[in-house]
Symmetry: C2
Subunit: 103 residues, 2 copies
Amino acid sequence: MFRALADATRRDIVRRTMTQEYSVSGLARLYPMSFAAVQKHVAVLEEAGLVTKRPRGREQLVTADVTAVRRARFLLDQLEALWLERIDRMGEILAQDEEGDAR
Amino acid sequence: MFRALADATRRDIVRRTMTQEYSVSGLARLYPMSFAAVQKHVAVLEEAGLVTKRPRGREQLVTADVTAVRRARFLLDQLEALWLERIDRMGEILAQDEEGDAR
DNA sequence: ATAACCTACAACCAAATGGTTGTAGGTAGG
DNA sequence: CCTACCTACAACCATTTGGTTGTAGGTTAT
């Protein structure tokens, strides 16, 4: 999923489809590349669960899935939580040093 | 930066160095790949600002930089904020419908 | 019906990625 | 001093990635 977010075009697609539905060809018009290239980007995002497609007549409407973004954010939150553990350890070490000073 | 986080080994390196300093060779011992491969992963993380290196004698100690992770999280938060805009729009549309009903 | 449009998918290509081995330079320790 | 260790970096290789064009099938509208 981070891999899916690693490309700027794909991040932009997620950004746009977060507030509004776009057909694949509608998205393709926004970028200086072929329809097929955009279609592939959408496929990568869909496989990563970041986006879903809904058929309407002859077009496929693309929508971002906010829950996938929340999962990614959760992973980053966990990394930050580890950081706090480190701070705790540094606190313990300081506490031990003070013990040493008192002894 | 999402590109840097796109690889599982690199995410693990960030995770480990978030709580503790590791030398590059110390990290290399953890993964079933050559020292040079791990060295490259560290270089990618360093270039993305996710990690910093500090020399200690003949080794280089690697530490994660929590602020970079926070930047990444901020981007995801912005995506979620866009989602809320969409909800607002749906609310407006519903309000308009109700006006129509009242008329 | 047929022309225009949207999508899916295959085949192909250049560049980036993730891995390897090999070479060389700095640091620590017996 | 010399050996062992840690790091940096180059060269190379296979696979993946991001792009292209081309072909074919389904939908809409005139």
